[in-house]
């Protein structure tokens, strides 16, 4: 019987040393342990400091190990990979922290009463935010209804009709300027406008919608324009060659091809404005009750509710702070569910890419 021995592979100019696969997890674990021990020795556990120590230690160790076994090119590759992952984790920390804190603190008052009661005649414990939830949905919804048609039509003009025209350049410039308008200025604009049209000191949900539209339109224009521009020209030409008029080509070919991106852009724009506080404090005011008249009288929204609960506390303080957190949690959940709906819509409309 002959032993089937594989002869050791002769080294060629193409082979090089390789670290075993478990090197990275082992080094990460080791660096983490050393980091924690180091902080303990330096006087008490500190997660941030431990993570920093562990990161530096790991980077040095992996670079030295890889460079000596695999060569300097691989060594630098692993080093840079470490930086990239490190930067990603660092960016994730505030996000996770924020979500965790809001969830933890918000759950204290995340109950049935919070979603069924307003703050009318409530002092101290109890009460809810139904008036603010209603206000946020109404104000943001109307702002979206105003902004999306204006923004989308502007984007269609810019990408389909206005190329190279002075008017288009002017619009692009002012859209860019509008993107940089501080939100408080948008609130003052809406307040002043309402003061001129109706009466001085007039506040309403509608005024808030106007203020938010000022902030939302440039975002919608910019994102939609970008997406319309990346629709391949060949599709437009294919449509023209079939004898389809330009307006119908835009309506039936260009916009449907870009619709999933446009929807995502609109959702992002909504997420951007739904948390606006300052313009709504000016344009929509404060109230403790549900306001059924969208066009007159102050209307509460979730951001102003959170601010109001926190800023104007009376006893017991915890009740107010808990309500503020629950309001913040509700707002985050609304934005998240909007994102989810947007993704579903985008997926439904997305160009069909495969079908073999």
């Amino acid at each position: 019987m002959t032993a089937t021995l594989t002869p050791p592979r002769a080294s060629s100019s193409l082979t090089a040393g390789q670290l075993p696969r478990w090197t990275t997890p082992l080094l990460v674990a080791a660096a983490a342990v050393v980091g924690i021990v180091a902080t303990l020795l330096l006087g008490g556990f500190n997660a941030g400091l431990a993570a920093f120590f562990a990161f530096v230690l790991y980077q040095v160790a992996i670079f030295v190990a890889s460079a000596s076994v695999e060569g300097t090119r691989k060594g630098f590759d692993r080093l840079m990979y470490g930086f990239v992952v490190g930067a990603f984790l660092l960016a994730l920390v505030p996000l996770a922290w924020l979500a965790f804190t809001t969830l933890l603190a918000g759950l204290n008052r995340f109950d049935g009463q919070f979603f069924t009661w307003s703050m009318r005649n409530i002092v101290g414990e109890g009460g809810g935010a139904i008036h603010a939830i209603y206000g946020t949905l109404a104000v943001t919804g109307v702002a979206t209804l105003i902004s999306v048609p204006i923004g989308l039509l502007t984007a269609v003009y810019l990408s389909e009709y206005g190329q190279g025209k002075a008017l288009a350049r002017g619009i692009t410039f002012f859209v860019d300027v509008m993107t940089g308008v501080p939100s408080i200025v948008a609130g003052l604009f809406a307040y002043a406008l309402m003061g001129l049209v109706f009466r001085p000191g007039f506040v309403s949900g509608f005024a808030g919608s106007i203020a938010l539209s000022v902030l939302m339109i440039p975002v919608v224009v910019r994102s939609s324009e970008e997406l319309l521009r990346i629709v391949p020209n060949e599709l437009r030409e294919a449509s023209y060659a079939l004898g389809v008029p330009k307006w119908r080509t835009i309506l039936k070919i260009v916009i449907p091809t870009a619709i999933s991106g446009i929807v995502s852009g609109v959702i992002l724009a909504i997420a951007r404005i739904i948390g606006e506080t300052a313009p709504l404090m000016i344009a929509s005011g404060f109230t403790q009750s549900i306001n059924n008249n969208f066009f007159d009288g102050p209307m509460m929204t979730l951001p102003t509710f959170v601010y109001g609960q926190y800023a104007y506390r009376s006893l017991p303080h915890e009740a107010y702070v808990d309500r503020a957190w629950a309001g913040a949690l509700t707002l985050i959940l609304i934005v998240m569910s909007l994102n989810l709906i947007g993704r579903i819509i985008a997926k439904r409309f997305a160009p069909k890419t495969s079908g073999r």
């Binding site: 190279g164 060949e234 294919a238 079939l242 160009p351 495969s354």
Partner: protein, 259 residues
């Protein structure tokens, strides 16, 4: 169904730049006319001017007369949209609409132009067009799947089906096989031979063997140098152009001595 095209002293401009100069030619119906010539000589530009597609580029215009069965395509009051409904076009790269299924793609011309038709009529039109483009057998079981899932050659035939579903008088093809493999090319060339019975076909090609194989008449375009306008050098029966061309430049180009 099939119409004759006549160009008289046609100049084509992109803004101030004159791309094609003084072209006069007759494109006969129920025949295949091929345009050959080096890159940039204006053959695609001339082709696109035949259904007023070059106007899509801002600043482009033509000077001269272009007659479709005696009617001036560039006459006052002529709507380019109506011109394009009669003169269909197939492009270099297959471009099915990504948002539509195979069937919707074929019927796109009808649907987008808001033609009223019953479901039965539409199905019939789609089948006829797909059969006409030799694609029916391959796709009849997946008409509702996206057109972008087909292979390149199938996509190109889908685009041809889309063009002939409109029942145009003339079919323009701008290098329809340059992005395809030899087998798909053969399928398209066979198809061109069949379509010839009903349509006026004009094809631009860089492949001289292809021009020799499929066309009845060949037009050779050339350009004097960069920045100069392209010109029609010679137009004759394909047989004559490829055996005994009357102009030296044509012979040089065809035998590969040029460029």
């Amino acid at each position: 169904m099939s119409k004759r095209i006549e160009a008289k002293n046609l100049d084509i401009y992109y803004g101030k730049f004159k791309a094609v100069e003084d072209v006069s030619m007759v494109v006969e119906p129920r025949a295949v006319t091929a345009f050959i010539g080096p890159s940039g000589c204006g053959k695609s530009t001339f082709l696109r001017s035949l259904n007023r597609m070059h106007e899509v580029i801002p600043g482009a215009y033509v000077d001269g007369e272009l007659l479709l069965d005696g009617e001036d395509l560039y006459g006052p009051g002529v709507d380019p949209v109506n011109v394009r409904r009669q003169i269909g076009m197939v492009f270099q790269r297959p471009n099915p609409f990504p948002t539509m299924s195979i069937k919707e793609n074929v019927l796109a011309g009808l649907k987008l132009n808001n033609k009223r038709a019953s479901k039965g009529e539409l199905d019939e039109t789609a089948e006829k067009a797909l059969r006409g483009a030799n694609l029916w057998e391959e796709v009849k079981n997946r008409l509702d799947l996206p057109g972008s899932g087909l292979s390149g050659g199938q996509q190109q035939r889908l685009c041809i089906a889309r063009a002939i579903a409109m029942q145009p008088d003339v079919l323009l093809m701008d290098e329809p096989c340059s992005a395809l493999d030899p087998i798909s090319t053969l399928a398209i060339e066979d198809l061109i031979q069949e379509l010839k019975a009903n349509y006026t076909i004009v094809i631009v090609t860089h492949n001289m063997q292809q021009a020799a194989r499929v066309s009845d008449t060949t037009a050779f375009f050339n350009i004097a140098g960069t920045g100069q306008p392209g010109k029609l050098i010679e137009m004759d029966s394909t047989e004559k152009i490829f055996s005994t061309p009357s102009v030296k430049a044509t012979e040089d180009y065809i035998t590969g001595r040029f460029g």
